[in-house]
Symmetry: C2
DNA sequence: ATGAAAGCGCTAACAG
DNA sequence: CTGTTAGCGCTTTCAT
């Protein structure tokens, strides 16, 4: 069994050594043409490059990462709470875009809103020596993330910021987005507007609730606490609370669903009960999805720029990796109200 | 500035050496309690474990991967064609489940049906020394994947198999799924059934088309080639072809949409044109999604077990990594027709 | 401009 | 049962 070529095991990758031998230089030189090409004689350089091509050599990111300590391993981690939520898949795509443009690879983990998994995956990522992390923290004072930030690992928070910590973050203006949506509903004549939200530990929901209260107040609409439903951020939540809402003596004339999963649940129950949208009830969702327009009726929704969030977050992270002590920033992106067909003006006095 | 603790750089991770010093043993022993605990004296073991805990030591997967050549790096790669397609996010979840149960981490890349990116990401993954790969090949004779398989890298194909190669794969019975769906439609009295499919280079679509032709034939329904639309697998495809279908002299009474994105496009156009479902036209989609029930009307669809596909694929991959020369297998999973409200019997003779 | 050599953190012989 | 040691593939002084 001869040495090279025929190992038939995992050794399909030529190594630095092979290239060096092929080009008749030292491995150091090969490494140089890869990293500091200007420091090597043009002739040698082309010879080496030729060898690299010939052997189809690809540097091992692993070895590189082990050796380089400062941050040039070109790997980042992305930790998202729920991959089933289309909002986050847009985020993923945004991160991917930015990463692929920069030669970064990324590891992604989906922790399903589960703190145990969040920790597990974070450990794995550290253990993989990522250069940095993009995370949507489980809560505003997510201990695990907090600790990581303090340790100095480049990290940017998305969607949910972290209180009590100097950290880069890119979030959405939940307050304004909600306010705008509600005012649209109010302008249509709605006063009994129900709201279904996820857990208030998650800052985004708190902001949306705050906006709800304040907007109603600002328009002199009395607050009916029974119209405020707080559950988890799932489809199921949408179902349950919509049923409750429908069963009220004085049901709402409009429902503001706190995220796209909740919206779906709401729609499901509404359709099931043959209540017509928007004739019988108006529905407005936070979080747009690309197929909202395929719904019947097309859903009016607050669009969050998920893709953009991901892209910006990645860009910020790359910057911070390069320049660890730049001052931290929080970028807040605006939402956009996508008016479609699921809301309708209320007939006054009827 | 004292040595440890205060480096404030990336050195928050204690190393094997630190643990060894703390427990007053050699690094080899520490390594042993991690990997072959039975080979170390109980007393030493607990001492070491205590030290590990105290220092919050986490082994570097990177170093391990560099060292171990055979396949114990506990990292696999997952290459998917389109993360926006909910089917694939189910696959991702399935892989994640299996991986997290086994201590594997995974890198995921979304190549957006783009062969260039497919190659790029595959290179990155190799460069990361993954133990194996799960891939949905771009086509049946995807050169890149083929080459990889031949090189001996553990690899399993999902959704789309590879012809001319001995390789593990887990796919869905597209033929049967389509046939079942079509026969349901036929049993409802439909004969003018349109079908919108993605590109025929993708084997799944070829199978679905084959099933279409053969099922129609088997039921003595004449084939109208104008009812067969082949495009890409996007939402847009659904829109375009549905419009075409609607504009026909004798439009179809039912549309069979080739995937969930196409279904969405179809629905969108139908709603836009105020054609009622199922009164005016029946719609049946290949590929179920968890919110199909929230649609109006709830969509009747062929459910592909995406999660299961991912899980099985991962399990097969782990097996193959352990036992590289076991014989290859192709597991084919069945679909399930989810009858909901979007199809209706045709009024005969009217 | 180039080479020699020292590790990065870990595993796996090989000795004891 | 435990320690010593030689690398894994690469980057990076330090010489030359």
């Amino acid at each position: 069994m001869n040495a090279r070529e025929t190992t038939s095991e995992n050794k399909f990758m030529a190594g630095l050594k092979d290239v060096a031998r092929e080009a008749d230089v030292s491995i150091a030189t090969v490494s140089r043409v890869l990293n500091l090409p200007e420091n090597v004689h043009p002739d040698t350089r082309v010879r080496v490059q030729k060898a690299i091509k010939k052997l189809n050599y690809k540097p091992s990111r692993v070895a590189r990462r082990l050796r380089v300590n400062n941050g040039a391993s070109n790997l980042i981690g992305l930790l998202i709470p729920d991959i089933r939520n289309p909002f986050y898949v847009e985020v993923v795509r945004g991160v991917e875009k930015a990463a692929s443009e920069t030669g970064y690879a990324f590891i992604m983990s989906n922790f399903s809103q589960n703190v145990g998994k969040e920790k597990l995956y974070m450990d794995i990522m550290l253990s993989e020596s990522v250069d940095g992390l993009i995370v949507a923290p489980a809560s505003e004072d997510d201990k695990i993330v907090l600790q990581l930030v303090k340790s100095g690992l480049p990290l940017v928070c998305i969607d949910r910021a972290l209180v009590n910590a100097k950290v880069d973050s890119v979030v959405v203006n939940n307050y304004l987005g909600t306010r705008e949506a509600l005012e649209y509903l109010i302008s249509l004549g709605h006063e009994r507007i129900a709201v279904i939200l996820g857990p208030l530990e998650i800052p985004t929901y708190r902001e949306r609730l705050k906006a709800y209260r304040e907007t109603m107040l600002a328009h002199n609409i009395e607050l009916d606490e029974n119209l405020i439903k707080i559950g988890d951020s799932s489809h199921n939540s949408g179902c349950i609370f919509t049923r409750e809402l429908l069963a009220m003596n004085r049901p709402p004339t409009a429902i503001f669903a706190g995220n796209n999963l909740i919206s779906l649940g709401t729609l499901e129950v509404l359709h099931l009960n043959k209540v017509r949208i928007p004739e019988d009830i108006s529905v407005l969702g936070f979080d747009d999805v690309f197929w909202a327009i395929s719904l019947n009726p097309p859903l009016t929704a607050v669009s969050q720029p998920g893709f953009e969030i991901g892209r910006r977050a990645a860009e910020m992270l790359f910057q911070r990796i390069k320049e660890p002590k730049r001052t931290h920033a929080k970028v807040v992106l605006n939402t956009q109200l996508m008016v479609r067909k699921s809301c309708k003006a209320i007939a006054v006095n009827n």
